[in-house]
């Protein structure tokens, strides 16, 4: 794994990724491949090209500069990804930003400069910086450098993780500089996890339990999060198993994340077909009453 990650985006003024006003740094690359991943462009750690048909003004400049003849309106998703060598010459000339690279190498200093601009807003709102992805722990030394720097400057730090990492390395490199961990607990059944997320979950569950124990020392907090994906995670069986698991480990906090289908629009930008028909549960928002039911289930276990 390359030491420097590709950064997909640094989003300022985020209010949904932790307490207060925050910036979110999105890393590219993830060890899981969840079927419903909300940022499909973040799955692969490698550079990719995005094409947004809605922005294209059909000026033809891109096809003119492409050395591989990979661009044409005749192609199903405009870019012939077998031919494309990711030189990004097209993105350089595209006037409307319809063609753009997914991911950019950034130095730590550049990231720090960007997120520290908003420090006064973090300070007055109890906010800080969130690292998300993709999976930020894929790049632990790089991540650790950023976290350390922020911690020294008194900035609240938070990571959103899928939980699949080497705990010893995590404890040594990352944990000392973390204020809060948002830890995903998606599916409890190992077979289902393997099927829907592309990897087993033994290590994830174990990491969650051990980190929770460590958090009792009060140096950091850990909050599990469960995305309610219709037909996959938002099933009574899985939710009950999750509740059992959490209570067994005396974990009483859980954030439930309602599902939304907005990610599906991103597939075409990556040259992928939407595999779902309109009536498929994954094409629709999780109904509010479903959300309430799930909440009620966990409350019965004393989990809020």
């Amino acid at each position: 794994m390359s030491k420097k990650p590709l950064i997909l985006d640094i989003k300022g003024n985020s209010l949904d990724d932790g307490p207060g006003i925050r910036s979110v740094v999105f890393f590219k690359g993830c060890p899981l491949s969840c079927r419903w991943c909300h940022n499909p462009e973040s799955k692969s750690p490698r550079l990719e090209i995005l094409f947004d048909a809605a922005k294209c003004v059909a000026c033809g400049a891109c096809a003119w500069v492409c050395p591989r003849g990979a661009l044409s309106a005749e192609n199903p998703f405009f870019v012939d990804r077998d031919r494309c060598e990711l030189c990004m010459a097209c993105a350089g000339v595209c006037p409307s930003g319809a063609l753009s690279p997914a991911g950019r190498r950034m130095e730590q200093a550049e990231i720090m400069e960007k997120v520290l601009r908003d420090k006064p807003f973090y300070d007055n709102s109890g906010g800080g910086v969130t690292f998300s992805g993709g999976e930020p722990t894929l790049f632990m030394p790089f991540l650790a450098g950023l976290l350390k720097n922020l911690k020294e400057k008194g900035v609240h730090t938070l990571i959103e993780t899928c939980g699949l990492f080497n705990l010893d390395r995590f404890k040594a490199l990352v944990l000392p500089f973390i204020s809060t961990i948002y830890f995903d607990l998606k599916l409890v059944d190992p077979g289902a996890h393997q099927e829907y997320c592309g990897a087993g979950n033994n290590r994830i569950l174990e990491n969650l339990a051990r980190l929770h124990t460590l958090s009792r020392g009060g140096r950091f907090e850990i909050i599990p999060r469960l995305p309610l994906v219709p037909g996959i995670t938002a099933l009574g069986e899985n939710l009950a198993a999750a509740a059992e698991y959490l209570s067994a480990h005396r974990i009483t906090r859980l954030n439930l994340l309602p599902y939304n289908p907005l990610w599906i629009e991103k597939l075409t930008k990556l040259g992928l077909k939407n595999p779902y028909p309109a009536e498929h549960p994954l094409m629709n928002w999780l109904p509010q009453e479903e959300m309430e039911k799930c909440k009620a289930l966990f409350s019965r276990y004393g989990i809020h």
Partner: protein, 992 residues
Amino acid sequence: MEDAAAISQQLRGLLEFLAGMFNADEALQEELKGTQGWINVTVGLRTADNTVRKAIAFRDGQVSVLDEIPADAHCTVVYNKPADIIEMLNASPDESYKMILKGRVRAEGNIMYMGLWNYLMNLVAGVEQQEAVDRQIEEHRQTKQVLSAGTCAGGRQERLARRKSRLTGEKSDPGVKYLHDPYFARYSLEDFPRLAALREELFSVNCEFTGEFGKLITDFHVENGYEVDRNGEPWDPLLRKGETMRYLLGNRKPLIRKRDLLGGTWTTNPVFGGVGRPYSEACHMWGELNTCSKREYEPYRITPESIKLFHKYVFPYWATRNIHELWKSEYNNPLPAQIHELFFAVFYWATVSQSENNPGFDKMLKLGTSGLVKKIEKELERDKGADTEKRHTLTGMKLCLQGVDAYAANLSRQALAETEEEADPARKEELLSIHRNLLKVPANPAKTLEEAVQSMTVTLVCLGWETMDASISLGRLDQVLQPYFEADMAKLSTQAARDKYTGRVIELIGCLYLFNASRLIIAANLGQWQNSGSAPNTCVTVGGITPDGKDAVNDMTYIILKVTELLALNHPNVHARYKPGLNSINYLKRVADVNYITCATPALHNDDAVINALSHHQGWALEDIRDYASTGCVEPSIPGKHAGTTSALEINLVAPFEMAMNNGLHPISNWRLGPQTGAIEDGHFTTFENFYTAFARQCEFIFEQAVTGNNQLGELFHRHHPHLLLSALTDGCIESGKEFLRGGAKYNSSGVSIIGLADVVDSLLVIKKLVFEEQAVTFKELKEAVDGNFAQNPALHALVNTRVSRFGSGDPVALNMARRVMGTVGDFFAGSRDYKGGMYTTGWWTMAHHVAYGRVTNALPSGRLAGEPFTPGLTPHPAASPSLLDNLRDVAQLDHKAMDNNIAFNVKIVPGADDSHAAVVDRMAGYMKTYCELGGMQLQFNVVNSDTLKDAMANPEHYRDLMVRISGYVAYFTGLHHELQLELVRRAEYKL
């Protein structure tokens, strides 16, 4: 030419038909008989090239059509092309105003006679004209239905829920002496049935265009003369105005509104009325007397008696004596007046009013009229060698103060008389109390809070009648009233008595708010393009620091904020000052809380930034600067010490930019107005600096015209309508013997607002980067694309929209460009002198001009297309950055010195469905505090989402009191001009 001949003939036929009707019809003949004799007028109609020209003459009841326009025609309508004549005749109001705004139709000569011509035409063609209005209303209604299809109606409930939910706040401010729950969580509007009923009444009626003022002032001058007195001797306006004021105030009807705790009304309609001065704001109403009650926006109530009064008596008298006409006649139709009438570059608000100020109400409360008269007499006694001007100025002030006393005495008598007929003992007691208060004030110093508020009420309306009721502001109301509150509270010994009394104070301040909200400025239809939905903008300012730099937040601060929350009115325009590091976070959160509950008010001002900006004014004392209060939209002025006339000029910065792009020609008006500064087509600009110099020269040209015209109008106002009562309440005027508009005040300045900053800055950035740095396009190609509205160049349009960082993006290059442009503008005005001997101050707020001026502007290099609105205030373009923080940081880093007339920074934020009231307030306060700490001057939130706005457009009945901040002023959304509504929907929306 054939076209011209045919249209000529058609026009002649039409005019003859009209003449025939007037000559034959008795009722129409009757309309030509004025109280003082026949109403005569000759109107010309012609094309710009004179190929079509006709005139119609109304003379002593006989109407005739002429083939040549006589040299002494009162006014002439000039059409660009023959076809425009026919189009104008069939146009709906919006269509005809678009034609005016685009320079396809203009008026020459006397504007009031033009109104008379419209009045007479309406008598004959009223049915067709109303059909055009109704057609437009129906078209807009349909657009709104389409726009709102599928939007969520959740806003209706959410708004009500917001008003019901209450936070509590601890007492943490040193200046708060008595309140234990400064947020008053225990009170809702239902706890104040009086206020609820008065408020309901206000929302249930249309404003009445009243005739009392017009009648009284015309009576007075018909009887006593205007240019000369009744003996035919020249009449010094200083004395004339004093006598006029004494007559007006002494003879106006003393009314007490039902249920009100305060005596006095703004007009003869106690609930909602407009004064209608025939020499200023109402002079444009002649043509609309019969239509204003049926128009689309803000229809007025007007009685048939008033219509008759204005048409036959009032307007004929003022036709040549109104400010607008006097400007043209006394200065020989100067270039500034010509620019004004084409609506594309400069709007001279001074044609209407000089009244955006903060009078010294504290002087009236402390001295009373009797004390002020004593002060004046002492000065006359002291300065034995006083010149005529001083003697007349001081005598005029005394006459005005006598008028105030007479009005108060009449009110007091009226209250007593009503007592006798009042059956309800509680109301009887209230009327007696009004009677007793008015026996004491404003003649004498106020001793209690109730007397103080009553004194302010009478003074406010008298000042309104003297000047023009735009933005006569109440200053730092919390600072002025706190001593009276404390004195009253000290007399009460139990907590229960004190709690009861604070409830009473809320009612009193509520009555003051509702009294203030009981009037509008009478405005012609065209005004809807400039300041649609605007109230007269009396401002109330709270919080901040005291003159000696201490925390100024006190009990009255929170009481006023509570009243602002409960009544949720667009008027007064409420402003909260905040001193970082000194004012408490509890106070700031309460400001955010009220802003959230009311959606749009108060606006936030940073003391550090405003005080820093004003500190650049030579000779201004720091303790006075610290005492600043808002007036007009957002402008700072020093109460009781400062002749600030802060919204004198509203200037379109994009006009000089377009003139620089076109070698001095303004494209839409097709007027070669500015100096020739180089043609892009001929390759005159080889560097960006060359072009910037051209832009700066065009700015200078327009600004010079602005200053020249405003100085003419200032002198003119002084010669015709000196502000003597206002002078008596302003430090320096008594001592110097110079009236307010003559530089008598301790501090003097005139204020400018600049429209279109972000659009100009973004356009300059595109030229700099794409033309001169990257050479991605030639200047000529860019200009061709702009001239063609980018229709042939979608790729170039995409390029300018995506590849150049805009102001508000956080890119230092863009920020520096904004600072540079603001410096160019600010330096010019700081170096200019006004008619009072003060400097000009520069502001960046836009009323609704960003929509009106946008309408008359072609596409811009920034990518903005022809006719689209500019951004409001100095708010960055919505596409500048997806992060609000980039906007906030950029605006916070602008140079205070170049914004000493303040800014309007609008931000639309939308709470999430799950966010609690407390969480929303915490976040808003977080933005506010940080923005101020970074140096930001002013910030105003609209806490409403686009879905709610769309639902309100289609279903106005659910949203009649939904408030939004436009750019500095607050308006009820459903009453706004259609295009302004659309602009608000389009504004960038940030999730909170």
